[in-house]
Symmetry: D2
Subunit: 258 residues, 4 copies
């Protein structure tokens, strides 16, 4: 991890075009249908980007995020066509590259905002990319709660467990955003994934400590580096297994897993 070249990460922001108005036109659509639509579109995005080794997060569902991929303009254009061919809605996509995930997503956000409002009926299927694919590497950290099942799921009210997990995810997310220009997302169960610049084990240890101080909940974390999110994240998952087995709080993947 002494490579002096800074990592450069790709972030894509997918925004459904004029989605809010669509959900209530001509009258409000049944909520479960909207939930199903959003979830399937997200699953398709995960398939598409994941098949090209990037990670996808549902964000606010009408604003989804892909991180750590190396897709070129034509790949994103093809996904837009897939959405158009499959759904009653369309999507605009902004793609940014920068040294940190937060800066890259900021660039992507800015590109879409320049192209028009998310609720502008005339802004449709914009694809704005800030340059050629400049992705060179990414660090992924995979956190979970120590013995979540025994401590929470099998004992507490399901909703209260969810509130705890949400609080943990948000506390960690704010810390990683502020301290490390990293983007963290709850991904189900008691898992949070952070997409980061090149950080040390000590940095992750401090993050875990911070969450414990604020919430009383103990996390463990595995992290890895790679040229793509899947490569880095697979290393992180293996490292997290090491935490579970060896009762460690932080574990690094043995080597860059490309």
């Amino acid at each position: 991890m002494t490579d002096t070249t800074p990592q450069r990460v790709q972030a894509a922001l997918l925004q459904l075009d004029n989605y809010g108005p669509w959900t209530v036109t001509p009258e409000p659509r049944r909520e479960p249908e909207l939930q199903a639509l959003q979830a399937r579109l997200y699953a398709d995005f995960a398939d598409f980007v994941g098949g090209r080794d990037g990670y996808v997060f549902y964000g606010r569902f009408d604003n989804m995020v892909a991180l750590g991929g190396a897709l070129d303009r034509s790949a994103y254009a093809r996904f837009q066509t897939r959405v158009e061919n499959r759904y009653p809605v369309t999507a605009s996509i902004g793609v940014g590259h920068d040294e940190t995930p937060a800066a890259a997503l900021g660039a992507a956000s800015g590109l879409l905002q320049e192209a028009g409002s998310a609720q502008d009926g005339d802004r449709r299927e914009v694809l704005a990319v800030d340059g050629p694919v400049g992705a060179t590497g990414v660090t992924v950290a995979h956190f979970d709660v120590v013995d979540a099942t025994g401590t929470y799921t099998d004992r507490d009210h399901a909703y209260d467990v969810e509130l705890v997990v949400r609080e943990v995810a948000d506390t960690l997310s704010r810390y990683m955003r502020t301290e490390h220009d990293s983007l963290s997302y709850f991904v189900g169960g008691d898992n949070v994934i952070a997409v980061c610049p090149d950080l040390s084990a000590a940095a992750f240890d401090r993050a875990v400590e911070h969450v414990h101080d604020r919430t009383g909940v103990r996390l463990q974390v595995g992290f890895g580096r790679g040229t793509t999110a899947v490569a880095a994240g697979t290393g992180a998952k293996h490292a997290l297994e090491t935490c579970r087995e060896a009762d460690k709080r932080v574990s690094a993947a043995p080597a860059a897993s490309d």
Copy 2:
């Protein structure tokens, strides 16, 4: 709203069996594949329950929640078979009925916990119901952020907007849980849906006020009652449209929409 019979609501907790271990056996599975699996299973649950007029929330994805339906045991059993026929994982379901959503989901939680651990390899496809369908009515409130697009989405970093929305959703959720035994979920965009016992407009106004005090974000809310979540929620959606058009903070659906 002077009906003296207390509402009685149905809550179902769907829990994937031994899911955590499955995700890392024999080795960690690619994250985007897990995301896609969870999202599609959620979409199928939304279709199934939504087709019977209940609402579904993704919760922690390995623990999903259905509220405000009136499905009997055989319907949930059929959904379990559907999962078994379609996915590499299986699901256990607990179903509770009580006067408040929180109490009903607590009953559902307890039934599953009594049946064994969420990570017990031998606990598989449990279906535990606390009695015959006792659902008689539910109140649904649909909140969103006043001018979210203009104030946030079109101006700020996409991630920071997401953090704001998460904070709003969690602040509202804790308040509604504590004060009103209600269960609130972020459902995409800037929308939060709360499933509640019979509450007054004043109660919702105080909730909006509470969120504004804590976060500085202005919400508006429409609410409705009905025998099912879809009936109540459709009323709530229409009422929320009234808020948007008439610049109101709280709006009730004109009448019980059954």
Copy 3:
């Protein structure tokens, strides 16, 4: 099987509105995307109707058929809304009831044809039903090829096996249509399902004989009766298992399986 009341079966014809033109507007869409769209829409129709105990067949994909259900107008209307909420295309549906499946589907066909052309851009989301739900019962026969795997799949060119199966399915379909006003569909593998009026074992035996005479391929068949296609078809599947185990050519489900 001495019930003197004639069975009365429901048939629904789902027709995508103006689909052919859509597939080439503004220019021809990628074929795999169309295949995926059609298949998913079919899967959703199977879920919806199957969840209400009817059978669904893909037909020509832009014209799908549901048989042996007992869905009322509002259920079909809800499915139309689901299509509208989920896909870039819409669907019209005709629903007929009659003593034979062929007559019922003929009624459904006629209702849609009266409403306008399948490629009329103005005909959209028609729902035409010939009266209240009049379904009282149906007979389902489930055919497959004797030892298809050993005789064909494991030995011959995959395409030539497919041609054999197609020939068998079509020969059987024409015979059952002409002789018994029944509708037969290939459903995958080496399986053909026929939805029929109340026929005797001897009639199915003659059908098997006819296919053997024309194609040289040996079929076996289980059949059952029930108030719905799923009830009848589940009986037929069990009866077909009996054929496999007891080396019989025709087997009836032990009793009407309602």
Copy 4:
């Protein structure tokens, strides 16, 4: 079309492992659930292969075919993992390359047969490839029925229209298989796609003539060449549009569309 290098096409045969027995274990599964499973798995295969510019056909659903792609071993392996991560069944895949589609699929068939029976419970997730990707080009012909909507769909019983279309597809398929080592598939509506070696317009004209002689149905056909099925097939679709507009029976894409 004077290139003297023979085209070399890739064919993949995807076979569900031990699927027949699974559908009846521990007892027969509901037919609509099986239909939905098969259709969704097919849609996923279409997405995956289509995203890499190949065409996919549903074949017998438990035996699906991909043609005209240029996917390497690792791509097919990834799709197998996707199936394993998403479905309750697994898939084996054989991949062959040869000058004609029929020969390539024959090679793929043979590879799977050598690996064990389709109903051998121990044969699971085989991936057998006959060598490195050798795909260099393919010809795709897209046929449809002249004025199918006016002549058939809007006038006749839906089932009888389907029987006509099936007969046309099978007649064409047998002819193209025997005469030209080509593989033809019904793809919905009144469309048949043939994947072919390099054939002349005259050859396609004779095929159309043959179908008319045997069935009385008039077809039209556009064809194109390309390095992938999508490139060739998109040319074919444009050429078919020319047939429709200019009332021609056969039309070639203006140039190899790579």
